[in-house]
Amino acid sequence: MKTKVFLLFFIFLLALPLSCGKGRPSIYKKTKPFMDTLVTITVVAGSDEQANRTIDKAFSVIEQFGDKINFFSDKSELSAINRNAGATPVKVSPDTLGVIERALYISEKSNGAFDPTIGPEMNMWDFFKKIRPSDTAIKKKLSLINYRDIIVDHDRSTVLLRRKGMLMDLGGIAKGYAADLALANLKQNGIGAGIVAAAGDIRAFGLKPDGTLWNIGIKNPRQQSEADELIAKASLTNKAISTSGDYERYFIEDGRRYHHILDPKTGYPAGRCRSVTVISDSGIFADGFSTAVFVSGPEKGMELVREAGSDAVIIDKDGVIHTTPAVKGMVTFESGH
């Protein structure tokens, strides 16, 4: 009898360590392809189940939004707008309206350095097949680029492109908007800390389980080797951080680099910067702005950033690094830069 009691107690002792281990928050990460890129969502959660559930919900929010503004899909709301250019206004859902209004805001603030009507010019380039349009073709389409020709009726929730042949491309701003949607969704579902990263457009919130800030690496625009991948490391939270660079989609021909960030005023790739990283409290000032600052160049771009009350790291065409004062407290640069 005594031995049986002892055995039961022994089994009980063995069972004790099982009760710990569950409920301790840790970092979970998941990656899935959306909007032509890889989206990684990181959350701090108490269990695999919670992490999977909340991340999957956020992914589906991104997927639904992505479908609405997909430039290459006939079924998207964006395609409907483009098809009806010069004809009729198209009714759109709140998210689509929101991202277009945000695009207009950035276009105005940057005096057209960012312009979502860049579609006709973008279409003529293929960075994978290394195809670029002729100078005449580029000049011809320039007249179709003008954000002021986007007519938005907020109350009726409609969007009209005034002239036939206009094409709106929201690529420069959609990922950030999607990240914001995902962020809101995660918070709604009880996640207090995490990162939503749609390619280079990142939203970080809360703190890691050990109480420290999130570490976001900034890519080196002229990376030579694996060791050289990052040029700086930013430690932050509750910020949006976004980068536009000439090394994401490009090809080199006759010693010249042709990349995907076109200057809406010329139709050619903007050449004043190599990469621009904008750090902002609000997502609205991050992604579209990084493109705008990139096109505007280091001086004008820095002004834009300061007006918006945000921070930035600008690496100009000669590799010189310009930063806002507050960057010193957030970002550490790798040796040699």
Partner: protein
């Protein structure tokens, strides 16, 4: 059944209970104590052949002496989808989020562990 119990000694029964308790406890403890990994490490014949991030869904084939083993990573879990070993033990293990799956005849070991993943050490995300 009763006849069997009658034919056992006290020591027999104690030993039995002890072994059962120890192995059951062992199962639970090992399941909880396994390090949470973010890497899937595949070893063939004792040498690390592939490393994949646990957080990226994918399906791929691992060559082995007995044929090709198909491994699938999905929802932060990994499983052997198809194997050509004798007893299909590895397939039967199902989805594994921690620890390892072993295909002994094929000398293939799939383990979950490690902290390093696609992003460099100390970095949580990369912009650019």
């Amino acid at each position: 059944m009763k006849a069997v119990i009658r034919n056992t000694t006290v020591a027999d029964r104690l030993l039995f209970i002890f072994l059962i308790a120890a192995s059951v406890a062992g199962i639970f403890i090992s399941r909880e104590a396994m390090p949470k990994g973010s890497d899937v490490i595949i070893e063939i014949g004792g040498k690390t052949a592939y490393t994949f991030a646990l957080d990226t869904d994918r399906t791929f084939s691992v060559p082995g002496p007995l044929g090709v083993t198909i491994v699938e990573i999905k929802g932060r879990k990994v499983r052997v989808k198809e194997a050509h070993c004798h007893n299909r033990l590895c397939e039967k293990q199902g989805w594994v989020a921690r620890g390892a799956i072993v295909c002994l005849p094929n000398r293939v070991v799939i383990s979950v562990g490690g902290k390093a993943d696609n992003t460099p050490k100390g970095i949580d995300a990369i912009t650019g």
